[in-house]
């Protein structure tokens, strides 16, 4: 098991190097440069040149990439050119925001998606099946940013029942420990903040959840249908087991395997794909962070953050693989 994990981790290295090269090349190919971005429209050519020299931007790309890689290998994500802040420190702030949102969305997606999928499969061709599957098709067809805007319009503008943006209402106090606000407010017993943070999570969470929810529901359904056709379900029936046991133990455990893969993949996608949602709900997460960094040509931030997101993505997929193996005794570790 341990061997398996180590070898899998080792295999991630080339992928991450590839990602870092891709990120590096792309961001350096974007026209404009950080010096201009920092100094603004008012800087003179001489100032720009001086700053470029200071930042080492005039070095050959290979040297620059080597320097970047060197830092990464030492566990140093570098400093933001724009804010001068260590990227590691900034990510400690922003990653939890994004991860909290992603987990929240994923929990919604899994709970509703799996339940709907199971019921739809068990009652195949029923009205529930038809409706839930149609709705789930709606889910994958909705532009999230539009859904977000419409939710804001309905729940914030028209009815004013949910906060339109941010993680906490200004004025609500919260001592942060992990930067996961729900967790922090529970840890500090701050119920006001808990409720507030929860309300703030609702709209972006739902917006972000629609696509994975729809995908999970459909996946669960087809996976359940597939499993329900299997011989061992017939066996379970022939043994005289209760329907609930057959569905929720025998069938669901088998059906959950492909769903798990989807969950892992979707969770990874949520992390990197939250750019739109975060920008609509002014969510101070990594998606916005790296998006702004692209616009501000903040090379180190773009490179390091994409690398971190990619690492999390592959890591999450690794975890799902391990979980998969854990759930499926047929797969051996060695």
């Amino acid at each position: 098991m341990l061997k398996y994990i180590t070898s899998r981790l080792l295999m991630l290295i080339p992928v991450l190097i590839g990602v870092s090269i891709l990120a590096f090349s792309l961001i350096h190919l974007v026209p404009g440069d950080p010096a201009r971005s920092i100094l603004g429209e008012k800087a003179t050519a001489a100032q720009l040149e001086a700053l470029r020299n200071e930042l080492g931007l005039n070095d050959p790309y290979v040297v620059q990439y080597g320097r970047f890689l060197g830092h990464i290998l030492q566990g140093d994500l570098g400093k933001s050119i724009q804010s001068k802040e260590s990227i590691g420190v900034e990510l400690i702030q922003k990653l939890p925001a994004t991860i909290e949102l992603a987990i929240f969305a994923m929990v919604i997606a899994i709970v509703i998606g799996v339940l709907a999928g199971v019921i739809a499969a068990v009652k195949q061709y029923s009205w529930f099946d038809n409706i839930s599957m149609t709705v789930s098709l709606f889910g994958v067809s909705l532009p999230i940013f539009w859904l977000g805007l419409m939710m804001i319009w309905i729940f914030s503008v028209t009815f004013n029942i949910l906060p339109p943006s941010g993680r906490l209402t200004t004025g609500v106090e919260l001592n942060t420990i992990t930067n996961f606000y729900l967790l922090d407010s529970i840890l500090t017993g701050n119920w006001v903040a808990l409720k507030d943070a929860f309300l703030h999570l609702l709209m972006p969470g739902i917006a972000l959840a629609t696509i994975p929810m729809a995908i999970i529901a459909r996946m669960t359904r087809s996976s359940m249908l597939e499993v329900m056709r299997q011989d061992y379900i017939r066996t379970a029936n022939a043994k005289g087991l209760r329907k609930t046991i057959i569905i929720f133990q025998h069938a669901l455990k088998n059906a959950s395997l492909p769903v798990l893969t989807v969950v892992g993949l979707q969770f990874g996608l949520l992390l990197g794909g939250a750019v739109l949602t975060e920008s609509i709900f002014s969510w101070p997460g990594v998606g916005r962070y790296v998006y702004l960094a692209v616009l501000g040509r903040d090379y180190p931030v773009v490179q390091s953050t994409i690398l971190v997101i990619a690492a999390i993505f592959v890591f999450v997929n690794l975890i799902t693989d391990i979980l998969y193996k854990y759930l499926d005794p047929r797969i051996k570790y060695e």
Binding site: K42, T44, A46, I152, G171, R288
Partner: protein, 511 residues
């Protein structure tokens, strides 16, 4: 960036007054000498003092850290008398040596953008026109210039030249930017990046002590969302209002609209450097005539006034006698025909995606202009890019026509005319003059005005320049905006400053 405590206080029973200021982006650094972005300066303007400050309404100056000053007749040596009762927030005393220290620091790196830009520093000559800065007493400083500089005093009032505590700079080193220490009306308390910056009032402020106890600058990137937060009451005042929301705010008794006096201009530059139609004056004039400014201005939803000159009317030296090109499609067509373009031509218009204070809806304006020029057979292809790309594009002169704008730094006409329209600044690659308008006549007058210390004479010169520019028409001047802020009605005595930032020690929150 401390992750152990984060607190947003609300005025709890004790009657503590907190002002929550909503804005679109976070500060980049809280070291004003190194930044150029409004969001940073807005905050540092509360923390730091400059030798002289702008008065509340315009860009005239009044004493601040310096109580009085004089200048030699040749305009080269300035002597400032400093206050002797000022302490930095870290408790150290403020003296003339500290001023010298700050000036010297500003000449050590290209990072001190504004210094270099305002005083003409270069890699070889980091001091620029400032020859030396000396402490001639505990509370007296003498600054020697290499050439006379008419707007010098106004320039010193700019927030980037706020005086910082040398002790703190030494102590924090590279991290000074997140531990700012000045002498201003508010003391830095806490910064949660991309979320909020908290300041508390400086009880020992030498000027008027603030009436509110705390200011929180909160980042809410989306304009619409920020306005909703204001409507919901979670912030007290905000900038960056969508023009579309003004009407809503005006219809709401609990809210007020505050318009910032204009010290900016937005324009469409026509690149004269590329050959082709744009190098023909007749074409440029025709384009000026083909644009219906009334409609264009309507898109500003009441936050802008039509521009006819490169400088805003609030500035001295504004030439009000100039008659703007009247909207006249027929005449424009005639001019084009005369120039040999009766059948029109194809042309690009570069614009940018992020709204700027002087141009809240660049994309709309571009489309409106494109549609208007269609009337005179000019076929405009719009290219919209992000701000950085746009800047790079226009500085390199890749455009035919491009939108840009300018916000005055120190309230001096030179800060508009020279920067934006002098041939000195028309170098490809770093152009401020993106029309690449290279008039020797204009150049000579502007140069003369820079060294003339008599304001009346300078006014004369600037009036003349504006006439020439009007005639040559390198631009279509578009508008001077009065960027709106929205606030709760309970916020009183908030006097917006044309430079875009105002100290909060005078405003108050009424219960």
């Amino acid at each position: 960036g401390d992750s152990t405590s984060k607190s947003n206080n609300k005025d709890n029973g004790g009657g503590e007054k907190t002002l929550v200021f909503g804005r679109g982006a976070d500060s980049i650094q809280l070291d004003p000498s190194k930044v150029t972005d409004g969001e940073s300066i807005y905050v540092t303007n509360q923390i730091y003092d400059t030798l002289v400050r702008y008065v509340e309404e315009n860009t005239e100056v009044k004493p601040a850290l310096a109580t009085e000053w004089n200048v030699t007749d040749d305009g080269l040596v300035w002597t400032f008398q400093l206050r002797d009762d000022v302490k930095f927030h870290d408790g150290t005393d403020f003296t003339a040596e500290d001023v010298v220290y700050n000036f010297e620091r500003w000449t050590t790196s290209a990072e001190f953008t504004y210094y270099g830009y305002m005083f003409g520093a270069s890699e070889d000559d980091m001091g620029g026109i400032i020859e030396k800065v000396e402490a001639t007493g505990d509370y007296e400083v003498q600054i020697t210039l290499s050439e006379p500089n008419a707007p010098f005093l106004q320039t010193l009032a700019m927030p980037p030249f706020g005086i910082a505590s040398p002790d703190a700079i030494e102590e924090h080193g590279d991290n000074y930017f997140k531990n700012p220490v000045g002498t201003g009306p508010f003391v830095f308390k806490e910064w949660v990046p991309d979320d909020s910056i908290t300041l508390t009032k400086n009880e020992d402020y030498f000027g008027e002590v603030a009436k509110i106890d705390k200011v929180i600058f909160r980042v809410i990137p989306d304009n619409g969302a920020r306005f909703m937060e204001l409507q919901a009451g979670t912030i007290d005042i905000m900038e960056g209002l969508n023009p579309q929301d003004i009407a809503t705010a005006e219809g709401d008794d609990a809210l007020q609209i505050i318009r910032r006096p204009s010290m900016n201009v937005s324009y469409m530059a026509m690149n004269m450097d590329k050959g082709g139609p744009m190098s023909d004056k007749l074409v440029r004039q025709a384009i000026n005539m083909a644009i219906n400014k009334d409609e264009l201005i309507a898109l500003y939803e009441g936050v802008g006034k039509e521009a006819k000159n490169p400088i805003p009317p609030s500035l001295w030296g504004f030439n009000d006698d100039i008659e703007p090109y009247a909207y006249d499609v027929e005449k424009a067509k005639a001019l084009l025909a005369e120039a040999g373009y009766a059948d029109g031509f194809d042309i690009t218009l570069h614009t940018f995606s992020n709204p700027r204070p002087y141009m809240p809806q660049p994309k709309l304006a571009a489309q409106a202009i494109a549609e208007m020029l269609k009337e005179v057979n000019i076929n405009v292809e719009i290219t919209e890019s992000d701000w950085d790309t746009h800047l790079a594009t226009v500085e390199n002169g890749e455009h035919d026509m491009a939108f840009l704008g300018w916000t005055g730094d120190n309230g001096d006409p030179d800060n508009f005319l020279y920067v934006l329209l002098d041939k000195d600044n028309a170098t490809v690659g770093s152009a401020g003059n993106i029309a690449f308008y290279k008039s020797d006549e204009v150049h000579d007058i502007l140069k003369a005005a820079q060294v003339e210390m008599d304001q009346d004479k300078r006014t004369e010169l600037y009036l003349k320049v504006q006439e020439i520019i009007h005639e040559d028409a390198p631009w279509v001047p578009i508008a001077h905006t009065t960027p709106p802020l929205a606030a709760k009605s309970s916020v009183v005595d908030f006097v917006p400053h044309p430079t875009g930032s105002e100290p909060f020690n005078l405003l108050d929150i009424k219960k």
